[in-house]
Subunit: 609 residues, 2 copies
């Protein structure tokens, strides 16, 4: 039972009956899967990984520079985060298709939570330190969840809530880009649609810069068109993948030639050259920012994890390999811990880059290593060239990237399948767009939890009837042919009976009996003498559940109705015995099947009649 | 579906098709049940209520004075809380047996949380104001839970956790009484057993007062003996009920005669005469204490509610009448709101006094009105007489009262039935005794929640086999006769498939398939060609669940195994259709019963073989 609950995947199965040295190698391989798949690695695989790595590198460089702005950090920190974390992941992770690095939603969330605490412009040094602190604890959180086998906790964010949250975040991110896209100087710090639109409106007469808009708009059209081509024909997947880099090169060249920056076109200005400096001493391990860092780290770590695991699972099921969620979390966590010490902020799996990685034919995590090398060369050699890159182009790249996060089809499907899920989806969406990222997240989590609570506290109880000329008893609402047995009410409880639902189950059964009795009375039919509970779906019962049964038994006795139990499972039966409930109701009223019970009860009814 | 979830009791059923005036009367009766049962009230019933009322009054007066000390309030506030709230409850409540007033555990909890914020001696006025504020918001919380039909939330405290919490609270309360019982002057403010024992030990040489111990011990023996008599013979239930009052009268008289207070025997000294003054203006509606008051109010309100509802349900099931939990919560809530405005602190149903009330033959809530009148007379006339009552006697009364909360039998039963429940029980117990009341409560709530989460995320999956010579398929672990069908793995999922468990279900099924394949390979048996999921216990599915099924289908296809669905319910079937999952798997692989599915799959296996 314990094993089934916490170790359903039996993680130590391979270690059984092995020699010491073999166990050491297995242990090493389980921490560093690269030692496992690395032995079968060959040139053919490397060819795929190399091409995929180059493709995602060309996509990630402009994205990284843009995303670091969402996190209110200087552009180089985005590139740093695409250098170290992918390397660590390549050694420890088990997904073959995920592309690691900074992502839009986590950057926005982190930036938005951090700037509530420290002003990123006035106090840039402390802001950066808090960002590393949050990254460190995000990593610790992720690794701890995996290590303690609590990975299932991230399943508590429902798919519907994630769809809404992602869509809302995408719109929020796109709106934020209006600042760079329109060249507005005084822009609101709030991320809700009302504040942003107000900023845009106020600045309409003097704040907009037409040169900026021209550059941004023309390249946005180019980027969206390249996306369209990639979507139309899968063979051209590389077109949208390299379009951003082309845009950056072209626009930078254009600005350099025309010196448009003197006309008010804002440019990146400066990216620090060189690879990641150490940031071990910058993490707050004491003081008032420690608690804040932990809080922000936990939230952003969990969201990053949710995204990475979802991506990992999607591609694992497409290529049909197993992904161990808990082990994956440890890998992602350690990657961020190391990242936080090497000037990176929270990195995770990127939806868009992983898809490109997959389509470009990646074979293993080596594509991440290739990407990492390209980023390294970029940092060492060509960062100065980004000086004249206009901010508008980064805005266009981000807009065209996040549009893919708005999944209208999924939302429509949710509407069709489950209205309650749709409420969760829209709640998260509206929360993000009209209030803040944190509020949307809170709404998403709350609605997800409410659904779980309702599921637990309100199990289904159905009335069974006999399918004529058989000994089969089925739900009368589902099988119109099923007929109720006269004088007997057969109720099936479709859940374990625990403290969380025992009172509901008891009251629901009594209410069903009362409804039935009213109906029978109205039709002058014989009254109910036996209430039969079909227990086969009741997988377990606890003390509260047994109390509820006892109370039910007593209430029924007072009404002259006999409680009968059919088909209790072995676990439930043991507990009914241990609690002496079987003595109370007497073994004569516990049966193996509903048919047995009905057969025994029917003659007794005749006697009384 | 919505109705089934939120209105399973169909609260408006009586209002259907009624005239306006009738609806008004019904509405009035549903808010004030006294107008309903009051019409059948007669002298015989009053006789029962009168005797019961006098009995519980004699029990409550000494208890109230003692309990107010637990809440760090002057003695009259305990009496006030036995005057107004029972009156309000008598008009609005629907339990016939509950006795309303201050109770030990809530007094301790309130006192312990309040003194963390304000010192009750140095700043008595603000402390009292915060107590009323907390009471006000306790009432608001209770009424809101009832009004919003969220009453089921209190079911989240499991029975086991409550048993442990109550036992721990009883021991903590008893230990606190050592101060009065031993006449110690410098006593710790902490409630954990280590601090208390340290206080007792430090004061052993100069702090103990032998006269106090003599009075306390002799009356404690008397009280426990009277309890023993009442337990031996139910006819003498009144002996333990009036023993406390007799003890108070005798000991007060004794101290007055001997002037033992001059020998260091601590006495009550002063109880304010007169009935409840208004405290409307004392409640903090603004300022820093508002938030604290709300927090303490919510916690103590929920605990008070849990106790009252548990009592109400117990006696309702003993006398077989229905108790509407949500309506009851509104009544208890409004009672505390009014109480907070009339100098009362949180009142609720008392276990010990309700039992006495029941045994003394109460018929309706009129016994509470009788009790209330006796308390009124006490406050108006005889409070000055309590001046010489020794504190030791109050300590003895409280000790003998709370001993009944330690339910060793229940704990043993929990151990026998469910080991996990026992952990919850002991966790709460140890938390209260060794740390603090709040810590015990936190442990109780956390463990209860953990159990729910595990229940939701880890549904059972079982392998089914055919019972020879029938078309019945049962769990092979439960029915050793059931034999697996060659080439087919039949798995039953015993829960709705939601986002919270969809990944687990998918991975568990795949794992079961892999285990099975390994076993078959080892025995040179034909491989699995069909994986059949028996869906009858799957009451519902959401988008995440359908995604998991799709992923499962794809993984199985890659392994050359066909997914087959048997007996999906109508709700599930609709959703499988809406999501086009039925197109993916094809309708040919969805069957009404497992037997149908096996019959169709068997020939196909022969073809291939």
């Amino acid at each position: 039972m314990m094993k089934e609950t916490f170790f359903p995947d039996d993680p130590l199965r391979d270690f059984k009956d092995q020699s010491r040295s073999r166990m050491f190698i297995l242990g090493l391989q389980s921490i560093f899967p690269i030692f496992q798949w690395g032995r079968d690695y060959n040139l053919t695989k490397f060819r795929g990984d190399f091409i995929a790595g180059l493709t995602i590198a060309s996509l990630c460089i402009p994205q990284d520079i843009g995303y670091s702005k969402l996190a209110n950090l200087s552009p180089q920190y985005g590139l740093y985060s695409s250098l170290v974390p992918p390397l660590i992941y390549a050694f420890m992770g088990s997904s073959r298709d995920i592309a690691i690095g900074p992502v839009a939603v986590v950057s926005l969330l982190l930036g938005s939570m951090l700037q509530d605490e420290i002003d990123p412009i006035e106090n840039a040094a402390d802001y950066r330190r808090l960002a590393f602190t949050a990254t460190f604890f995000a990593g610790i959180t992720q690794a701890a969840l995996g290590f303690l086998r609590l990975g299932f906790l991230i399943d508590f964010l429902s798919h519907a809530a994630i769809v809404g949250f992602m869509g809302g975040a995408a719109i929020t991110i796109a709106l934020q880009q209006l600042k760079g896209f329109l060249g507005i100087k005084n822009f609101t710090k709030n991320s809700d649609i009302v504040s942003v639109m107000h900023s845009v409106w106020v600045s309409v007469h003097h704040g907009w810069n037409w040169q900026t808009i021209l550059i941004g708009a023309s390249f946005l059209v180019f980027l969206l068109f390249s996306k369209y081509i990639g979507k139309k024909n899968k063979k051209f997947f590389w077109v949208p993948a390299i379009a951003p880099l082309i845009s950056v090169v072209l626009s930078t060249f254009f600005v350099y030639i025309t010196r448009a920056d003197k006309e008010g076109v804002q440019i990146v200005k400066h990216i620090k050259k060189g690879i990641n400096p150490s940031s071990v001493n910058e993490i707050f391990f004491t003081g008032k920012y420690l608690g804040i860092g932990i809080k922000i780290g936990v939230v952003s770590g969990v969201i990053a994890l949710t995204e990475a695991i979802a991506i990992g699972r999607t591609f694992a099921s497409m290529k049909d390999y197993q992904l161990d969620g808990n082990r994956e979390m440890v890998a992602l966590g350690l990657m961020n811990v190391v990242g936080s010490m090497t000037s990176c902020y929270v990195a995770t799996g990127s939806f868009s880059r992983s898809a490109v990685n997959f389509m470009a034919g990646c074979q293993t995590a080596v594509s991440n290593i290739v990407m990492s090398c390209v980023v390294l060369l970029t940092l060492e050699l060509i960062t100065p060239l980004f000086k004249y890159t206009p901010n508008a182009i980064l805005a266009s790249i981000i807009i065209s990237a996040v549009i893919g996060l708005i999944d209208i089809e999924a939302a429509l499907l949710i509407w069709k399948i489950d209205k309650f899920d749709f409420v969760a989806c829209m709640g998260a969406f509206i929360g993000v767009v009209f209030a803040s990222v944190e509020m949307g997240l809170l709404i998403a989590v709350s609605i997800s939890f409410a659904k779980i609570l309702l599921q637990v506290t309100r199990p289904r109880t159905v009335i069974l009837g006999n399918i004529p000329r058989t000994t089969v008893y089925r739900n009368v609402q589902q099988y119109p042919k099923a007929t109720k047995v006269p004088g007997t009410l057969i109720v099936r409880v479709d859940s374990a009976i625990y403290f969380s639902n025992s009172n509901y189950v008891k009251e629901r059964i009594l209410r069903r009996l009362m409804d039935e009795e009213e109906e029978l009375k109205a039709n002058y039919l014989p009254r109910i003498q036996f209430l039969l509970i079909e227990m086969s779906p009741v997988t377990d019962i606890d003390t509260s559940g047994i109390h509820a049964l006892e109370e039910l038994y007593r209430s029924l006795q007072k009404r002259g109705v006999q409680l009968v139990i059919a088909n209790p499972g072995p676990v439930v039966m043991d507990k009914l015995h241990a609690s002496k409930f079987t003595d109370l109701i007497s073994d004569n009223y516990i049966f193996l099947t509903v048919a047995d019970a009905v057969m025994t009860c029917a003659p007794k009814m005749l006697e009384e009649a």
